[in-house]
């Protein structure tokens, strides 16, 4: 029988679980558009976690970070990707290599691996919600599964963006007092990734008239 976690750890865990569940939802979302919306929701949850950590730990810089990540990850990035999707106007349904149930089972196994790995690290402290850390690791791993198993550019971009969300959760629960510059550097990274993926989506769609990466198995176009 485990001890009941504190309220802080409890809230952090619930938020982390929500992030993980949206990650799974993205994995199975049939429409690319709904995938982007799920990403926006996931980012909203992460921003909420930043606000909660800021309030309970009295770290005022985190409010700025929360605001920044809200503007960037909930409004800007999803809006941009949705616009690209509207312009592309093809392949609304994403392609996946496997069926939904087997994809979920694989991701479940991978996230279990994440849980057990972080569990065996034996990091314990009163201030650190170990569960949230383990879940953040699982989020990162499931994001990799999403990138690998979904064969379209948008899913891969969204998988990469949501991987950043997993890292955000981990950094928020492990090192809430991380200098703002470092956190903003993460977000800047994301911005660069958005630009790169935006270009990839455009070029890929321009060349193959589709968003599927299955066209990319030939060496010469």
């Amino acid at each position: 029988m485990h001890a009941v976690p504190s309220t802080y750890a409890g809230v952090a865990d619930v938020v982390a679980v929500l992030v993980l569940l949206t990650e799974f939802a993205m994995l199975r979302a049939p429409l690319l558009r709904s995938q982007v919306k799920l990403y926006a929701f996931q980012s909203l949850v992460v921003s909420g976690l930043a606000v909660y950590v800021a309030a309970s730990r009295h770290i005022n810089e985190l409010y700025a970070l929360a605001l920044l990540s809200f503007v960037l990850k909930v409004v800007l990035v999803p809006g941009l990707v949705l616009r690209l999707l509207r312009e592309a106007d093809v392949d609304l349904a994403g392609s996946s290599v496997l069926g939904v149930a087997s994809m979920i089972l694989i991701a479940l196994g991978v996230s279990a691996f994440g849980f057990f790995t972080v569990g065996s690290l034996q990091v314990h402290s009163i201030a650190l919600p170990t569960t949230a850390l383990a879940i953040a690791a699982a989020v990162v791993l499931v994001a990799f599964v999403l990138i690998i198993l979904r064969a379209d550019v948008v899913s891969q971009a969204i998988g990469f963006f949501s991987l950043e969300n997993g890292v955000s959760v981990a950094s928020l629960v492990v090192a809430a007092g991380l200098p703002l510059v470092v956190e903003v550097a993460f977000l800047f990274d994301l911005l660069v990734a958005v630009v790169v993926f935006g270009v990839i989506m455009r070029v890929h769609h321009g060349r193959t008239k589709s968003l599927s990466t299955e066209e990319l198995d030939r060496l010469k176009g």
Binding site: M1, P5, V11, D13, V17, A112, F115, T131
Partner: protein, 323 residues
């Protein structure tokens, strides 16, 4: 010698649990279908309609197909008996365990419910009619698919309380509000909610009030029955629904309003409290019924995979450190 009994004997309370489920279940079903009608812009059937239906069916004659044997008629009776046993095992009215309450744990109750489902499916198959057989085989298939989810919910419960007695989990949840927001507990409760959705044949899985046989799972099993056996089946389905609601409410979500002692007042209050909570939950199900479309039959595995995912995550979160 006191004049009146100041404490209801535990055996009396236990009998009362059974009677509450027995006579309250049609009422809960009636409220749900009334609310559903209202939500769809109809007036909806009377709240007491299920009782009239049962009374009518009990007066009608029983017809069996020529191919069927005694199993066809015995199935509904066995199922009804099972549904009468389960309320003895779960906290329906009291917070404390009753004499027969420790006869079986959550798994025991689950097995008895499974036996009931099996006997109804067997009776349907025995009729020799194609749709009833289809219903029986589908019910068994999806029952087998949802079983791992139920097991993982039980594992999560066992991790919280170190036992799998429903009374113990209810007591744990009542003990502090932080138990309620533990992610592991929330996930297990959500997974069980989805299990209830599947097991009561509600909308993402099955339209419970349709007449289209192709989408039917549970409903199709009873197509060939008539008269008193059909009444028992309908009554049993209502009881199963109330039993599952009771487990969800009194074990996972809201184990309040139960009698903490055997005083007649507390026990008498616990009955309307339970029925009220069950009706509130039923209204949630009615709203879900109106918000979503039925899944295609082969998409149901995806729904079940989602439930399984949530249940496994509940266990993993506990494993990862107390979630």
């Amino acid at each position: 010698m006191p004049l009146g009994p100041s404490v209801v004997a535990p055996q009396g309370v236990q009998a009362l649990q059974d009677l509450t489920v027995l006579f309250g279940a049609p009422l809960v079903s009636g409220v749900i279908s009334h609310v559903e009608g209202r939500l769809q812009g109809r007036r909806g059937p009377r709240i007491l309609q299920p009782y009239y239906d049962l009374a009518k069916l009990f007066r009608k004659e029983t017809v069996a197909t020529e191919e069927s044997s005694w199993v066809f008629l015995a199935g509904p009776v066995v199922a009804f008996g099972c549904y009468l046993i389960v309320p003895l095992l779960i906290p329906v009215l009291t917070t404390y365990g009753l004499p027969l309450g420790y006869m079986g744990d959550i798994l025991g109750g689950g097995f008895i419910l499974a036996l009931a489902g099996f006997s109804v499916a067997l009776a349907g198959t025995e009729s020799g009619a194609p749709y009833a057989q289809l219903g029986g085989s589908r019910a068994m298939t999806f029952g087998a698919l949802i079983e791992p989810t139920i097991l993982f919910v039980v594992f999560a419960v066992a991790l919280i309380t170190s036992t799998d007695l429903p009374y113990a989990l209810a007591a744990t949840v009542r003990s502090s509000s932080s138990e309620m927001v533990r992610p592991g507990h929330v996930l297990a409760a959500i997974a069980f909610f989805l299990v209830v959705l599947v097991d009561t044949g509600r909308i993402p899985v099955e339209t419970h009030s349709g007449t289209l046989e192709f989408g039917m799972i549970d409903e199709a099993r009873t197509l060939e029955h008539s008269g008193a056996p059909l009444a028992l089946l309908k009554w049993g389905a209502a009881m199963k629904q109330l039993i599952l609601y009771t487990i969800l409410i009194n074990v996972f979500v809201a184990p309040w309003g139960l009698a903490a002692s055997g005083s007649p007042g507390a026990v008498a209050l616990a009955i309307p409290a339970l029925l009220g909570k069950a009706m509130a939950l039923g209204m949630i199900f009615a709203v879900i019924d109106n918000l979503f479309a039925k899944l295609r039959l082969f998409k149901i595995t995806e729904f079940i995979a989602a439930a399984f995912l949530i249940a496994v995550l509940a266990v993993l979160v506990f494993y990862a450190g107390g979630g």
